[in-house]
Symmetry: C2
Subunit: 242 residues, 2 copies
DNA sequence: CAGTGGTCTAGACCACGGT
DNA sequence: CCGTGGTCTAGACCACTGG
């Protein structure tokens, strides 16, 4: 393994890309050349080995650090992460998109719409001031005329004043909010729930059937905007990869 | 808005960080200075505005593109993403960690262990050759002596030959695999399922109770390694944020 | 204190893709 | 074609932190 072998007359060598370095490092980790917890060479050493600038190595390793493959510390160097905390990315989309991607016909229906005072549980959950006005909506999303998702939503009127002027007859609140209201942070919660009377009716399943549910609270700069509970048809599966 | 105002005698100005630029851009998007679909200035223009190198602007915008906030095209410029495809990151960890983070006592128990031929459904799902040997495991994970998760797993013996020598009496297969076997890709599937007889017994819930389930198939370079079905105790919630 | 990653710069060349 | 982003370089200074 003499380093000499790889040396070329210099001049115009094809530049080494950060992707090559990243992939090579991943390879050495996967094949246990660098086992879990091992200390990698410094950026300077790797740059010398690969014959490129330190910035290039930096970019490669930074990307791996973002993915949780390695951990980096000043003066401490770069180590193979002891717990390969793989991250799965969940793309958060609108129901209509999901349905249309299945090549199914999308249909939306508003079930109810009412202005109410923020109930205590919602105040606890979102931080909307108790007694503040919220718009409460219930709606159904169908795929090929079969029930797909029941959506129950509460919108903080104080945060979205002009929501009062929207009747939501023809557009779902998720799409409307996405287009009209900026938001910055969200919290999501997945669970399995039994079909209660109302849910069972709307989703056309026997009472007690197991349903996949997703709840999401949204803020715009610490200011609560909306809370939504989406319950899917029986048998729904959420998929992802990494 | 005269650009002159911001000019200093040059010399040693505090360098503008990519984070400042990124945050400022996020701000202008959130406040609709640049509405959905709008075309942003070029990197060169932004670099001039912020008084920094193009590379700095590039890093800021590249990060926003990775998050799906903007879309970038050569010659097409940078645009505010029309569909704010926010991405939630799911950290995939080991059950023991999850339980210990709840400050609960973790207990593991092996339920069954047997070598079998790969059944057709598993072959279809993972690509393990039909008839190939797989190790079938069932185990329970408890938190403070209460059922937490039932794990059913199949391991491709051809991909992990030395798995045959492990009895899994004291260590869970998830941790063992994580430590012993490299893997590169995975597919995850979440759903709500009813508690069947066996599941109901192990998780101590009435038959038919809605349970949160996560299935994961793992490959190492297109080579199937393992398939696992994890069913959680009643009321379990998976949380994340973005 | 000294080594390591974190970041910025000024310049360069390239690749893609709209005009 | 030629403008825009994508990337690499060589060098520099800084910030954190382990010994």
């Amino acid at each position: 393994m003499t380093a000499q072998d790889d040396e070329t007359p210099a001049a115009h060598r094809k530049p080494v890309g950060f992707q090559e370095i990243r992939d090579e490092v991943i390879d050495r980790i996967q094949t246990r050349v660098w086992p879990q917890g091992a200390l990698l060479p410094t950026e300077l050493e790797l740059a010398a080995e690969f014959g490129c600038a330190r910035a290039t190595v930096n970019r490669a390793l930074r990307e791996l650090a973002e993915q949780g493959i390695v951990t980096r510390k000043r003066k401490g160097g770069t180590r193979v992460a002891s717990t390969p905390v793989k991250q799965a990315k969940l793309a958060i989309t609108v129901v209509r998109q999901t349905i249309e991607e299945m090549n199914a016909a999308y249909r939306y229906a508003l079930v109810s719409r009412s202005l109410v005072d923020c109930p205590p549980w919602l105040q606890a959950r979102t931080g909307i001031p108790e007694g503040g006005q919220v718009l409460h909506l219930q709606c159904m999303h169908h795929a090929d005329n079969r029930p797909f998702q029941f959506e129950e939503r509460w919108i903080n009127v104080a945060a979205v004043p002009h929501v009062a002027g929207e009747n939501f007859q023809d557009i779902g609140p998720n799409e409307w909010l996405l287009a009209e209201v900026p938001f910055s942070d969200a919290e999501i919660c997945f669970s399995a729930v039994p079909a209660t009377g109302t849910l069972a009716d709307f989703l056309a399943v026997p009472a007690g059937a197991p349903l996949f549910q997703m709840e999401r609270t949204t803020w715009f700069r610490k200011n609560p905007v909306t809370f939504v509970r989406m319950t899917f048809h029986q048998g729904y599966q959420m998929r992802t990869a990494y």
